[in-house]
Every structure is written in structure tokens, then in C-alpha cells.
């Protein structure tokens, strides 16, 4: 027995000499991370550089350029009232607005809603999860409330909240984030329950470290990898739900160019002009796919335990 453990100590020591790949190196080698990351970076670039990519103001319209098919040229009236020539790469809608410009500007809303709803869900989920995992008396009641939230289908919560608050960017983000909070809370709680049994936490407790310091500096850093993965999935779901809300007509006001809004506007004429629905649809599907693939890649490289589970 004694020799066994000595051999084990020896082998772990010699293993430590071999240089381990850092998480960053593993990430960069993973194909899912590469593909998802590149597509996502391209979309971020499109969102930021939208004004430079041959677009016009997405709210501009021209009665003379209604329902153009993709590639047709027409005119568009600027805010000053001048008519300028413009090629409608993706056609125009029934108001004579440029679909290409609206789709490109729509990237901004989608990415923003996705990212911020993930951040909001993570922040509240982490907070509640830490509290629940660390303060045992709070655990029972809090988890029952979370069970209750999880028993209501996510889209219904989002729809009801947006209906109650009247849609704005902030209310849409919060409405999307709220149904995601219980899952994050559960994840953080389970992580806390495992980590708090680790020797280094025990050591910190025996040294008299206050609870909040243990949570912040000893437990939280060890939850980063699974939370990053979870955050990516929430981001993907958030982008989808925002598009669904807009598409159903309960999301952001219709003049704001979001992919869901463009599709909602185009659905009436889908039979004659399918491009109104198809172009934003392709962008939407591509974005969500990229974020999901990135999430899978992150999971495989950063959180092998979770990868094995699914």
C-alpha cells in the first residue's frame, strides 16, 4: 500500500514535468471552436461595420421601390428628401425598404440580445446559485421557486413578460433571461456543493475566511468553464427567442430592424416574395448554429465531464 502511493506520487510528479497543453491551446486546436468562432467573428464584424458595407439607413423607404426582387436596382429617398440610386442586393419589402441593409443592421440587435441575455441570466444565476449552495437554510425555498419557474415553458414566460412591460431592448433582454436563470442557478449550486467539499475550501474555512470571500475567491473561479459553456447556449437560445418574439409581433417595435421583424413583415407576401423571409432566416439560422457549435467546442475542451454526459 505504501509503495503503491509512493509510486503514484512519483508518477504524478514525472507527469507534471511533461508540459501540459493550456486551455487556450486546446481551444485553438478544436475544430468546433474554430468554425463557430470564425463565423461569429464575421458576424460581429458585420454588425460593427454595417454602415460601411454598402448599406443605407435601414429605416429608409421609397414608394417607387416596393417589392423588388433580389439584385434589382431602384431609388431610395434619404432623410433629406433626395432620391439616390441603390441596388437592392436582397430585394426590398412592401414599404420599399432595403432588405440587405435591414438584415445587416439586424445583426446588431440579435448579437446584442443574445450576449446581454446570457450575461443577465449568468449574473443572477451565479448569485442565486452561490447563495443556495452556501446558505443551506435558503437552499430549499429557493430551489422550489426555481422548480416553479422551470415548470413554465420558457417562451411563455418571455411572451407574457414582454406583453406586460411593452417591448424595449431592455425588457426583451430581461424577459429572455428570466426563464434561463433557474438552469444557471442549479448548475452553480451543484458546482458549489461539490467544490465546497474540496480540501482547499476546508483549509480556507479553518483559517477563518469569511463566507463571502470563500464564495468569491475560492469557489467562483472554479465554476468558470461550465458557466462559459452554459452562457454560450443561453446566448444561442436568446437570439432565437428574440427572433420568435419579433416574428410573432410581440417583440421590439416593427420599425427596428431585427431579423424577426423583417420576417414578420415579409410573411404576408411569402408566396410571391419568399426572399423577405429567407434572407433573414438564413442569417438567423447561421448565427444560432455558429454559437451552438462554438458552445459544443467549448464544452468538449473546457468541460470534459459535461461532454461525456451528453
Amino acid at each position: 500500500m505504501a509503495t503503491d502511493s509512493a509510486a503514484e506520487a512519483l508518477s504524478t510528479e514525472s507527469a507534471a514535468v511533461v508540459r501540459q497543453d493550456s486551455a487556450m491551446q486546446r481551444l485553438r486546436r478544436n475544430w468546433s471552436v474554430r468554425i463557430g468562432g470564425v463565423v461569429l467573428l464575421a458576424l460581429v464584424f458585420i454588425a460593427l461595420a454595417a454602415p460601411l458595407l454598402g448599406t443605407v439607413d435601414p429605416t429608409l423607404f421609397d414608394a417607387g421601390s416596393r417589392d423588388l426582387t433580389p439584385g434589382q436596382s431602384g431609388e431610395i429617398t434619404t432623410l433629406d428628401g433626395d432620391s439616390i440610386k441603390h441596388t437592392f442586393i436582397m430585394g426590398s419589402d412592401s414599404f420599399g425598404r432595403d432588405i440587405y441593409s435591414r438584415v445587416l443592421y439586424g445583426t446588431r440587435v440579435s448579437l446584442m440580445v443574445g450576449a446581454f441575455s446570457a450575461v443577465v441570466a449568468l449574473v443572477f444565476g451565479i448569485l442565486l446559485g452561490l447563495l443556495s449552495g452556501y446558505l443551506r437554510w435558503l437552499d430549499g425555498p429557493l430551489m422550489r421557486v426555481m422548480d416553479g419557474v422551470m415548470a413554465i415553458p420558457a417562451i411563455l414566460i418571455a411572451i407574457a413578460l414582454v406583453a406586460m412591460w411593452r417591448a424595449s431592448l431592455l425588457s426583451v433582454i430581461i424577459a429572455i433571461a428570466i426563464p434561463e436563470i433557474p438552469r444557471v442557478t442549479r448548475l452553480v449550486r451543484s458546482l458549489v456543493l461539490t467544490i465546497r467539499e474540496e480540501p482547499y475550501v476546508e483549509a480556507a474555512i479553518s483559517l477563518g475566511t469569511p463566507a463571502w470571500k470563500i464564495m468569491l475567491f475560492h469557489i467562483l473561479p472554479n465554476t468558470v468553464a461550465p458557466l462559459l459553456v452554459q452562457g454560450t447556449y443561453i446566448c444561442a437560445a436568446g437570439i432565437l427567442v428574440e427572433a420568435i418574439l419579433s416574428f410573432l409581433g410581440v417583440g421590439l417595435p416593427p420599425d427596428i430592424p431585427t431579423w424577426g421583424n423583417i420576417m414578420a413583415e415579409g410573411r404576408v407576401q411569402f408566396v410571391t416574395f419568399p426572399h423577405n423571409v429567407l434572407f433573414p432566416g438564413i442569417f438567423l439560422a447561421l448565427t444560432v448554429l455558429a454559437v451552438n457549435i462554438l458552445g459544443d467546442g467549448l464544452r468538449d475542451t473546457l468541460d470534459p465531464k459535461m461532454a461525456r454526459r451528453s
Binding site: V149, A151, P153, L161, A163, A236, F247, V271, V277
Partner: protein, 313 residues
Amino acid sequence: MYKFLARRLLSTIPVLAIVAVLVFLMLRLTPGDPAAILAGDAANTEQIARIREGLGLDRPLPVQFAIWAKSILSGDLGESFYFKMKVTSLIGQRLEATLSLATLTIIFAVFTAVPLGVLAAWRFGGWFDRILMGFSVMGFSVPVFVLAYILIWIVSLKLGWLPVQGYKPIAEGFGPFIRHLILPAITLSVIYIALIARVTRASVLEALGEDYIRTARAKGLPESRVLIRHALTNAAVPIVTVIGIGIALLIGGVVVTESVYAIPGLGRLTVDAVLARDFPTIQGVILFFSVIYVMINLLVDLSYVFFDPRIRY
């Protein structure tokens, strides 16, 4: 068994109670006059006054909840201001379409996803497995309504095989009923198939690593029997669990699918109620969906006994 059944039934009560509290608070914690919000844009001042009186809005919050909970427990979900009728009868009216769509979707999804998942696990790492997993990620990413429009475009408009949209009750004949439901059910099942296939694959893969599989193969059983009788049966518990959990996805999908295909069901009702800001209906539908979801997962729990004799209640 009966004792367990009773205990498990009782355990759904706190969850449902919390759902009720949440739905109740959703409205009370919003800025503005709850009576005016509850009445919606279509209501007049007289109606608003009547609601305020009926709900006892001048009383403390717990008392208000008690009044509301009492009317719900007696089966009264209030009256819709937009549709001018009882919310319960409104739900009853729309139930057939949604139930038909959901049932067809579940049947189609389970009978597609489970064989696909088993095949992928059987040929783990092979081309079929990779393609299926690729499709599964795509299934999670393609929005329901985009998929719906692509299907309508190809199947209904280009090929002319099925009607574009609409719904025919089963009372008007099975043929038209099913023809109107095929596309919506396929649309709705895609994300569900992705989910179930993924879990089936993982679960069967795990079962295939067990000793009894080697024994079964060693005694010369045909591979199909090994896969179905030995691997799949033992992998069933996670699969039925995910079918139950997936109902939440399905409900979300129903809301969108019914809107695209113009099916007069509960999903469509939800959207119409939200657009009209008809809060009694919104509350009623959310409560209804949540109860269904909780009950289905209760049934899933109970079905474990059937799939795994080791589990005893």
C-alpha cells in the same frame, strides 16, 4: 405503489402552487394599475372598476392571492375581455387542434428519433453517427418558423402536395384533417427529434458498453435483438425522461407553428391574447400549459417502473 402514487401526486402540489404564485405576481409586480392591465386595451372604465372590485385590489397582496387562488381551484380562470367569454371554455374550444398537432408530433418524433439514435450509437463514430449529430446541432439552431416557411415553399408551393395552411377538425373527415397537420407536425418535430436522438444515442451507447451486451452477443443473439431487447430497453429511462422534458420545447414550438400555419389552437390563442393584451387569457393559458407539463413529467416518472423493473416505488 399506490402509496408512492399518492406521494408523487402530492409533491406536484407545491410546484403548481409556486407556478400559480408566479403567474399571479407577474401581473401585480408590474408598474401601473393591475386592474387596467388585467382588463387590457379593449376594456372600458366600467369593466376596469368591476375587476378592481372583484379582485379586491385595495386589500393586502396575500388576501388578493387567496381570492384569486380560490376562483382558480373552483375551475374558474376568469373572463376574457377580448374574446368576451370564459377563459376555460376558450381553452376547451382550442384544445382539439393543439392536442392533435402535439400528439402527431410526438408520435412522429419518437418513431424517427429513437431508431436514428440507436443506429448512431451502434455505429458510433462512423459516418452515420457524424451526419446525425451534425443534423442534431442544426435541428437545435434552425428557428421553427424559418423551417416552416422552407417546408411550405418546397412542399406546398413548388410541389403542391399539401395545403399551405389552415386546420380541418377531425369531425370533417380524417383525410383532410391529417393532410393539414402533416407539415406542421414535421416542422414542430425537428427540434424534438434532435433532442431525443441525441439522448437515445448517448444512452444506448452507455448500455452497449455493459457486460450483458457482450453476453448476449456471445450466446449468438442476432444483432437486432441485442440492440432492441438488450440495449434499448435498458437505455429507456433517460429517453422517456427527455421526451417529458422536451414537452416544454414542444409547447414553445406550438406557439410559433400554429401562428405560421394558421391553426386555431392554444398556441395561436396565446399570441392573439398577448397582442390584445388580454391578461386573463394569458394567465389562464400559461397555467394550463404548466399544469400539463408538470402532469406529463409525473407520468414519465411513473413509467420508470415499466421500463426498469429494478425501480420500485
